[in-house]
């Protein structure tokens, strides 16, 4: 098999907030190093950071402190977060936002007096979220993208990473194997340091929000490379994904949180409000509670025609709604729905993946030369990510990774040679579909998405998950028998659909097994057979690792390095919340 | 020729301006040549001006003044939208330019007959 070989000093996978920030910081910390950024789509035009609507959490608002942000993060994560990571996230977010404003050129909305505007996302005790209208991610990524494009950073666009290739002794990472999607050729890139920032992305669910390029490739690669993955059962669902039928990619995309906050009502198939049957806060309860409420209502056969519920805004006055949620109303209108005056069908949708590779607060992993940041890294959010902590996490840790890699490569004299056997094996793995008879891949993806949604979704039971595990494994086995038309490998999307399925099946198995291992309900993970959150003092997180052909899932005790359950680091006289009730 | 991405008033205004500009540029040497006749052979100039009574020539002249007016108004419109900050009214301006041109050339036409 002919493959191209290529060398660099620092290699970055992905161009979300984590990848782009890493490139900028790596350049600052190692100005003479050759930096290469490789991405599955176009630079800056894929991934989820661009899709951030609500905003960025940073303790810069009146009265707010890093301590308060930290406490909210820990409580929101139900005491499961790695506290050192959560602390750094909150502390460095302050620096990162100033960097975004002053060096990168972002402009976040201002108050009338010219200071930064902060809003309060659900689950927070201060007005903390900075934003640019409801298109915050576009502002952040566009500005970062410009900075990276204008610097001497090598770009490998439409390059899909398919394997982390270690050295022969397995002690360190040699480089990464890619498919150059435009030509269909393989390319192996050696580097002294590699940042994996491919952004997770729970797109194995029937309804999901992330961009189409995100299919858990990074975590699947890490799993194969033998790295430990934590919190893999933690899949966050957003309660209001658009529901427009299975045949359209619009289905699953987010209708923003603010709609419920502003008084939007959820109605079941019979046009009745139902959220108060489940929670005293009604539609304004937290994401996980509302998602479960909707799911329960759907199970009672109270569903709308496409099998979800409705969101209705009309009682707030169509003109008001159209004005306040201009972007959202226009998006719905483009798709043929009247959000301002009518009702729109919605369904909970898989939004964010809290789980990821085990890293330390400097983004280092168990494998020398490999760093992980952003949604691919586990730990910062525990069982639940607060709205606004997602971009904060990817930009903070992307920057940290850039700093640390720049420093670390100073101590690496030479590029490491790969284990050629692993390289061969990874190539062979990617070529499997070309040796089978071509068939449709998509029906199998649908099966996988149904299985995960039905059996490992919003509400889970041991029986359901056992069934789900079996389904996922069968689907994974079926995939190996499905072929792809190999007339041309150049821009062969169907080949990539196949590879996407491979990653999704592998990680779905881990999610399911981790979820079976957690016998309580925390944050995003809800077990109908274990509805209690369990003892906080003895909180544990799950760690999954490949063991031979199977998986090894263990529980590890959470280290309360900064604060213990029931305690706080806020001064005694600090009020519970700084947010005025609406 | 008029592909879908071009079918809007501003593009029409552009193409009209360009065509009128070219037509004027082509006409101008002829115009200069005719006037130069005044010096070399005034009688031939008179003979030429006589033609201007013929309807076809009248229409041609009308077209010319029309072009001049169109180009003038189009040009003023352009400079206005480039240099004066009144962007939302551009389309109105485009239409207005054509309107005024018609008015000027119409007057000319009426006078001529």
């Amino acid at each position: 098999m002919k493959i191209e070989r290529h060398d660099t000093d620092i290699l970055i996978l992905g161009t979300g907030g984590a990848g782009l920030f890493a490139a900028l910081h790596a350049q600052q910390s190692a100005p003479d190093a050759k930096i290469t950024i490789a991405v599955k789509g176009l630079l800056g035009k894929c991934g989820c950071t661009r899709m951030v609507q609500g905003g960025y959490n940073v303790a810069l608002g009146t009265g707010d402190t890093v301590e308060r942000h930290f406490m909210d993060t820990i409580k929101g994560g139900k005491w499961l977060p790695d506290q050192d990571m959560a602390w750094k996230l909150c502390e460095q977010a302050v620096v990162r936002v100033r960097e975004l404003e002053n060096e990168v050129g972002c402009f976040f909305d201002r108050n009338a007096d010219g200071s930064l505007h902060h809003k309060a996302f659900a689950g927070q005790t201060a007005d903390r979220t900075v934003h640019k209208g409801d298109l915050t991610g576009i502002e952040i990524i566009n500005r970062l993208m410009e900075q990276v494009l204008s610097r001497p950073v090598e770009r490998l666009q439409e390059h899909r990473a398919i394997g982390l290739i270690p050295t022969k002794d397995g002690a360190a990472l040699s480089g990464v194997l890619f498919i150059d999607m435009r030509t269909g050729e393989f390319r192996f890139v050696r580097a002294k340091a590699v940042l994996m920032a491919t952004g997770g992305g729970p797109t194995m669910y029937k309804y999901h929000t992330p961009s189409g390029d995100k299919t858990m490739d990074g975590l699947a690669m890490a799993l194969r490379a033998g790295l430990p993955l934590r919190d893999m059962e933690m899949v966050q669902f957003h309660p209001t994904g658009l529901l427009a039928g299975d045949h359209t990619k619009m289905t699953g995309t987010v209708l923003e949180e603010g709609l419920r906050g502003a008084g939007g009502q959820l109605l079941n198939g019979a046009d009745n409000r139902f959220m108060f049957d489940y929670d005293a806060k009604g539609e304004r309860a937290t994401r996980d509670v509302v998602s479960r409420g909707i799911f329960a209502e759907m199970r009672k056969n109270n569903a709308s025609p496409n099998g979800g519920v409705y969101i209705s805004m009309a009682h707030l006055g169509p003109e008001n709604v159209a004005k306040k949620f201009k972007g959202m109303v226009k998006r719905c209108a483009d798709s043929g729905f009247d959000l301002a005056g009518g009702k729109v069908e919605v369904v909970p949708t898989a939004h964010y993946f809290m789980g990821g590779v085990v890293v330390d607060a400097d983004t280092r992993t168990a494998m020398e030369g490999l760093y992980v940041a952003g949604e691919d890294a586990g730990g910062a959010h525990g069982s639940n990510r607060l709205g606004g902590n997602g971009v904060a996490n990817s930009t903070v840790y992307g920057g940290v990774a850039g700093d640390v890699m720049g420093k670390d490569i100073a101590g690496v004299d030479a590029l490491r040679d790969p284990d050629e056997a692993v390289l061969e094996a990874e190539i062979a793995r990617a070529l499997v579909p070309f040796s089978q008879a071509p068939a449709h891949i998509h029906p199998l993806r649908k099966e996988l998405m149904d299985a995960m949604w039905e059996d490992v979704g919003v509400m889970r039971t041991a029986t359901g998950m056992q069934r789900g595990l079996k389904r996922v494994q069968e689907i994974g086995a079926d995939l190996m028998g499905l072929g792809v038309d190999g007339t041309t490998r150049a821009f062969n999307l169907t080949w990539h659909d196949w590879l996407n399925m491979r990653s999704l099946c592998d990680v779905s198995t881990v999610i399911t097994e981790a979820a079976l291992a957690r016998e309580n309900s925390r944050g995003a993970h809800f077990r109908e057979d274990f509805p209690e959150e369990g003892d906080l003092e003895t909180s544990y997180f799950t760690v999954a690792k490949q063991a031979g052909d199977g998986l090894d899932v263990t529980r590890e005790a959470v280290q309360f390095t900064i604060v213990k359950p029931g305690e706080t680091i806020l001064p005694d006289d600090e009020p519970e919340t700084l947010v005025a009730e609406e | 020729m008029i592909r879908p991405h071009r079918s809007h008033p501003l593009w029409f205004a552009f193409i009209l301006h360009r065509i009128s500009g070219v037509a004027l540029a082509l006409f101008l040497p002829v115009h200069f040549w005719v006037l130069s006749l005044a010096l070399t052979s005034p009688e031939r100039l008179d003979g030429f001006l006589h033609w201007t009574d013929i309807t076809a020539v009248k229409i041609a002249e009308f077209a010319l003044v029309f072009l001049l007016a169109v180009h003038l108004c189009g040009g003023l419109r352009l400079m206005a939208l480039e240099w004066l900050p009144w962007s939302p009214r551009q389309k109105t301006l485009a239409a207005g330019a054509v309107g005024v041109s018609v008015l000027i050339s119409g007057t000319f036409f009426l006078q001529a007959i």
Binding site: G41, N102, A112, G137, T253, P438, F491 | H5, P9, S87
Partner: protein
């Protein structure tokens, strides 16, 4: 495959290194269906080798733009029923950019020009400084806000005939970005920007055809931004003569 009573008559541009042609497909009509859904349906059900590009599917990433019945559009947010003529849809790759394969274009020239137009923030402060107080209602800020929500989809670039005829013309999106930055109180590169857009292929290559503003899916008006640049370059032209 599906034996739906009604189907769309879709013609899709297919190409490789050697050339290209339109190919016809019959695609079942669905109630909520975007152009992107049509393209994906063909790839998933009829011809697995069809190449195209998308990411966000909600009009944020600007990677799914194509020519639809002759007009450049974002396909993920273009409802089939809104653009259909009779029963026909013609889908081609975006104009004015090199085609990689089928419906996927190489967007690098577009971004190279973005950088060449100095569409890159020129900082004057660092992460150690406080965030600048900026009056959101000031004239400069409102002018900057008007053009800021560009998703670099290249739709305006594809619509513009000046781009087709003038090879090094920076194009509407890059210039719109330059204008936004020019109005950004935090940007310290005003003169750099003016120099960049005054060079050959800069804002003076625009003939105010307005197709950019007409086509922009986000209702931005690059033509007005370019006019702003022309105004400022003209001012600078006289100012420099005087001094």
């Amino acid at each position: 495959m599906t034996s739906t009573a009604k189907t769309l008559d879709v013609s899709v541009w297919r190409s490789n290194d050697t050339g290209g042609a339109f190919q016809a497909f019959a695609v079942p009509i669905q109630e909520s269906q975007t152009i992107l859904d049509v393209v994906a349906w063909i790839q998933q059900n009829e011809d697995p080798t069809l190449a195209y590009r998308f990411a966000c599917r909600v009009g944020m990433c600007g990677s799914c733009a194509m020519m639809v019945n002759g007009k450049p559009r974002w396909t993920c947010r273009t409802h089939v029923q809104k653009v259909i003529s009779g029963n026909k849809i013609e889908i081609a790759p975006l104009r004015n950019l090199p085609v990689i394969k089928d419906l996927a274009t190489d967007m690098d020239p577009f971004f190279d020009k973005w950088v060449k137009a100095e569409g890159v923030f020129h900082p004057s402060k660092t992460r150690d400084d406080a965030i600048e107080q900026i009056d959101p209602t000031s004239h400069e800020r409102t002018e900057a806000d008007i053009g800021i929500e560009c998703i670099n989809c290249s739709i305006c670039y594809a619509a513009c005939d000046a781009v087709s005829t003038t090879e090094d013309y920076l194009g509407p999106a890059a210039l719109n970005r330059a204008w936004t930055l020019f109005n950004d109180a935090k940007d310290s590169g005003k003169q750099t920007i003016l120099d960049a857009v005054s060079a050959n292929g800069g804002c003076h290559s625009c003939h105010s055809m307005g197709s950019c503003a007409e086509a922009c899916p986000n209702e931005l008006n690059p033509m007005a931004s370019i006019a702003g640049l022309k105004r400022e370059t003209a001012k600078a032209f006289f100012a420099r003569r005087k001094s």
